[in-house]
């Protein structure tokens, strides 16, 4: 038996799965602190009749804990020390209010081209002493190619302030993009302590309930991470809610090809693309509080349109407001919503149908329109909003930058084959949208709990990258970043480098107790360059390789029986 849980901003969803069956689902308003919501949901599910006599093997939790902390700026006060070298002006780095710039510079081959001056380092330490920080993040340009300067700063800080926690950017990510790496390191340093506390409390709750199974946390890339491993990278858990929904969509509707997932809630609609059966990633990493990070996330666009969106007519034009004043009239609310208009237009007899019909008729009279026409106008307006956003997403996907001839020549436009509806509001708009796009749509009876189902079934993901340079004879593996001398192999080949990356992935899987199957490993990056010196003598090679266990489902997943 598997348990999945998504503690969202408004609702906490939970689901129990066993051998193709959803045994039980639960939906409750989220309570603070979040641990309370977790406790209640687990108790409700495990206490249910359906769960009796069954063995719980795994719990996966998707939580907004870190997202909330960062959005409300409640992380620990953290200093950020930057080593940007000599290029962009310092003003272009606006990551933290507490930034300090150091000299020292590493280049793209990992060569130290300028050392940190004693004077600058001393100034930096005095600044830290004066500001009294206990959390420090250090980020150097090209620290992913050579972390020596970052380490030097860390040693100096630890010697002077042994109580300080120092986080180095190369430990967080080895991908190129200094500002994002710095931001990711900064955010990580800010929330690490708080996550530790959260994880401890969670553990207490589970112990109290006498649960000793495997506990995993969902990440923004739709994969899971064992609870203890999250401590090193708590920021990976942001935006796991939308990721849970997308995974749920795939669990409920396998083999979809190219699809759009629409998760229509009370006030927003989240849209995601499935390309060739795989969720599309945000190529530029997730943005948190306005800053881009290096955290892998699904590409999810949100628009303010949902079942509770308030409706009015202004100057003869239908207006769908981007806010919610309360639930639909038919469900006991007191303002006219999209749900009421659709209820009346399609005569769905939802809830207090008379309340919907009466309000729509009043608004239609006021606008001097027949009710039917008003309904049609509202539906068209809502569908048009969705279409505009969907087209924008297709275009974005088609216009992703490319750096190889092959990629340009083989780029295809996105052809959607199916729409997948999730969330309580999906039935309102999906049929009309599907008609406009002339594609079929699917709506599972479990659509409202897809996020919890997705979380329950998601498998762990892990991605490692390797950068090897046969001239500097260094190989960098990440994460966590490990720089080691390159074994002397004359004429190192791509196949050998790939083997090294795969081995590292396997090792990391072991450390994190993730079952490793070679067939799940996918090389997402394979580049090799001949390095020439002078006029054409090949003097060595540079390799960039990336391999990952992609998002997907654990072995117990055997589909979902409706």
């Amino acid at each position: 038996m598997l348990l999945g849980m998504d503690v969202g901003g408004t609702y906490t969803d939970a689901a129990l799965y066993e051998q193709g069956r959803i045994l039980k689902i639960s939906k409750r308003p989220t309570q603070q602190p979040l641990q309370k919501s977790l406790l209640n949901a687990i108790q409700e599910l495990l206490g249910s009749e359906e769960a009796q006599g069954k063995n719980l093997r795994r719990i996966v939790i998707s939580t907004t804990h870190i997202t909330n902390l960062l959005a409300t700026k409640q992380g620990a006060p953290t200093a950020l020390i930057l080593l940007p070298g000599h290029s962009l002006p310092h003003e272009s780095y606006q990551i933290s209010k507490n930034q300090f710039f150091l000299d020292g510079m590493v280049d793209f081959r990992g060569r130290i081209v300028e050392k940190i001056s004693k004077e600058a380092l001393e100034n930096c330490l005095s600044w830290l002493a004066q500001k009294n920080f206990s959390h420090v993040a250090v980020a150097g340009k090209f620290s992913n190619r050579n972390p020596a300067l970052e380490r030097e700063v860390a040693t100096a800080i630890s010697n002077r302030f042994p109580w300080c926690t120092v986080l180095l950017s190369h430990q967080v990510s080895a991908r190129l993009n200094f500002p994002r790496r710095a931001t990711t390191a900064y955010y990580t340093a800010m929330v690490q302590t708080s996550w530790k506390r959260f994880a401890q409390e969670l553990q207490t709750v589970l112990t109290k309930l006498n649960i000793h199974c495997d506990v995993q946390v969902l990440k923004a890339d739709g994969g899971t991470l064992p609870l203890p491993a999250v401590e090193k990278m708590p920021c990976e858990t942001i935006f796991s809610g939308p990721a849970a929904s997308v995974m749920g969509a795939l669990a409920l509707h396998p083999d979809v090809g190219n699809a759009v997932v629409l998760d229509v809630g009370g006030t927003t609609c989240d849209l995601a693309l499935i390309v060739d059966g795989k969720p599309l990633y945000a190529s530029r990493g997730a943005k948190i509080a306005g800053l881009a990070t290096q955290i892998d996330a699904f590409s999810v666009d949100s628009i303010p349109l949902g079942g509770d969106s308030s409706i009015s007519v202004e100057n003869g034009q239908v207006v769908i407001h981007p806010y919610r004043k309360g639930p639909a009239l038919c469900f006991g609310g007191n303002t006219l919503t999209l749900t009421d208009v659709m209820n009346d237009y399609h005569a769905w007899q939802l809830g207090n149908f008379a309340a919907s019909r009466q309000a729509v008729s009043a608004l239609a009279d006021q606008a001097s329109l027949p009710s039917q026409e008003l309904g049609e106008m509202v539906e068209n307006a809502a569908v048009s909003q969705l279409l505009t956003q969907i087209r924008r997403m297709f275009q974005q996907w088609e216009k992703e930058p490319a750096y190889k001839v092959w990629e340009v020549v083989h780029r295809q436009p996105f052809h959607v084959q199916k729409l997948i509806g999730l969330g309580a509001g999906a039935p309102l708009l999906l049929p009309a949208l599907a008609k406009r796009l002339q594609v079929p749509f699917v709506l599972s009876p479990y659509a409202a709990s897809a996020n919890a189902i997705g979380a329950a079934l998601a498998r762990p993901t892990l991605r490692v990258t390797l950068h090897a340079d046969t001239i500097t004879q260094q190989v960098t593996l990440s994460p966590p970043t490990l720089t080691q001398p390159l074994p002397k192999t004359p004429r190192l080949q791509l196949a050998q480098v790939k083997e090294m990356a795969l081995k590292y992935l396997k090792e990391r899987c072991q450390v994190q107790q993730i079952p490793f199957k070679e067939s799940d490993a996918f090389f997402f990056l394979e580049e090799q360059f001949n390095v020439l010196s002078g006029w054409g003598e090949s003097s060595g090679r540079i390799f960039d390789v990336g391999v990952q266990i992609q998002s997907g489902f654990i072995d117990e997943f055997t589909g979902v029986i409706s």
Binding site: P401, Y403, V405, V408, N530
Partner: protein, 464 residues
């Protein structure tokens, strides 16, 4: 001052390093060339900057290529996809700039193009397709733009671009480069100043080896900028070679990353298109970044390339040389009206209808030797149509002869009629002398080829 179409817009970047294309694995024009530039601009997070917008490349339409070149035997067999993507990328950015979607743009692409001439039998100076020329003719055709300035800042003379616009009085081509007596392609002297009806619209600035930022910026401020101010181009192109850098292995100049930034800051081109630059570790990452920063109006005063410092003093005798050169070239530019009017009047008086130039062209990369006779029909009211009679061979067993007729974009009705009659006449009467006869009608956007062996004519059709 020239007005930017969208002064508040972003700077468009199209980075296309063609990581899967090389002339040969060990050629300077190879996959590795933009690797460290990639590392630098990605690590700097340039693509995330609010001032920057990144674009996906496009493949240049065949007609855009045929409007500029005669590829022998045809475009598809002469060019790879990489070439068409490099040119297509420049076109795409130019479109975005003219539509006002972005303020300016930098197309960081390979392969380069400024040595590719009108007639292309093979690769010259690492080039098969002139990215800038194709882009310029494309936007002139699409948007009714007439006057364009191309400033070639590559260390090598932009002989291909010069050749293409030689007889076009509406395209001002300015090239500064290391003196042709000391560097490939061995041309670009000050007396090469355009065809008889476009005299003074080609300006060549041969620079002595070791010229520094000071010298080049002197030329820019005292020659290039005043001339542009007078010419009033509707679109300015920087044909941007990064090989004036003091560390470039194929040349001997003394320019720095700061100097390049300053140059672009002053020139304010609408678009910069990457040309050469083979110091791929010590110059390209920093010079390309410098250009991006200058175009995006980001403060570049911090930017210093690591390594030994750039030379920062100009030899007094070199400054004397530059002062004299600037003076002479300004004279040449100013004489355009007078010289072309005199030439027309003189031709009328002598009943001279044709102006002919003979040329011997060597293709260094592909070792092809070409002999070409280019004839300009001297027209009293337009730039005149042209013919190209070209014979090329790699060795004695592979000779190829072609004849081509070209009608310029702003040709008068008489020239259009006359030129077509000549093409027809050649197909009927001269087929035995040639392998192919080409027709290039920029006015009607029609491009044809007559295969003399098969006696078959075909029109260029866009691939689907």
């Amino acid at each position: 001052m020239r007005q930017t179409r969208n002064a508040k817009g972003q700077t468009g970047l199209l980075f296309f390093p063609a990581f899967d294309w090389a002339i040969t694995p060990t050629h300077p024009e190879r996959e590795e060339r933009l690797l460290y530039t990639r590392d630098q601009i990605f690590e700097e997070g340039v693509m995330d900057l609010p001032q920057i917008k990144e674009f996906f490349p496009q493949i240049a339409p065949l007609k855009d290529i045929a409007r500029v070149h005669f590829h022998i035997p045809d475009i598809r067999s002469r060019l790879t996809d990489a070439h068409r993507i490099a040119a297509g990328s420049a076109i795409l950015l130019a479109d975005e700039i003219i539509k006002g979607h972005i303020r300016n743009g930098f197309s960081i692409v390979r392969p380069p193009g400024h040595h590719a001439m009108t007639v292309v039998h093979g690769n010259r100076g690492f080039c098969d397709l002139n990215n800038e020329a194709v882009m310029v003719e494309s936007i002139r055709k699409k948007y009714g733009i007439r006057k364009v300035a191309i400033v070639d800042t590559d260390v090598h003379h932009g002989d291909g671009t010069q050749n293409i616009f030689w007889n076009d009085p509406d395209v001002l081509f300015i090239s500064f480069h290391q003196d042709g007596r000391t560097l490939y392609p061995g041309t670009g002297f000050k007396n090469e100043c355009g065809g008889p009806l476009a005299w003074g619209r080609t300006l060549n600035i041969p620079l002595h080896p070791q010229t520094t930022d000071i010298g080049i910026l002197y030329v820019l401020e005292n020659l290039v900028l005043p001339v542009l101010e007078d010419f009033q181009p509707e679109f300015v192109v920087n044909s941007a070679g990064q090989d004036n850098h003091y560390t470039d292995p194929l040349a001997n100049m003394g320019f720095s990353a700061q100097g390049y930034a300053r140059l672009n800051d002053l020139l304010k081109p609408d678009i910069a298109v990457l040309e050469g630059g083979y110091s791929i570790q010590t110059a390209l990452p920093y010079v390309n970044l410098a250009l991006i920063m200058a175009m995006a109006e980001i403060d570049y005063t911090h930017l210093i390339e690591p390594g030994p410092p750039a030379p920062h003093q100009e030899a007094p005798e070199n400054m004397d040389y530059l002062r004299k050169l600037v003076y002479e070239l300004r004279e040449i530019y100013a004489q355009h009206e007078e010289k072309t009017a005199n030439f027309r009047a003189e031709s009328l008086r002598l009943n001279r209808q044709w102006f002919q130039q003979r040329k011997y062209i060597y293709y260094d990369t592909d070792s092809i030797q070409e002999q070409q006779e280019r004839a300009l029909r001297i027209c009293q009211c337009c730039a005149g149509w042209q013919t190209f009679d070209s014979f090329a061979q790699k060795d004695v067993l592979s000779p190829c002869s072609i004849y081509a007729v070209s009608v310029p974009l702003y040709a008068c009705a008489d020239c259009q009629k006359e030129a077509y009659a000549e093409y027809r006449r050649a197909c009927e009467e001269e087929a035995e002398h040639y392998d192919f006869i080409y027709w290039q009608d920029k006015v009607h956007d029609q491009y044809k080829r007559f295969d003399c062996t098969k006696e078959q004519e075909s029109s260029l059709v866009e691939d689907s």
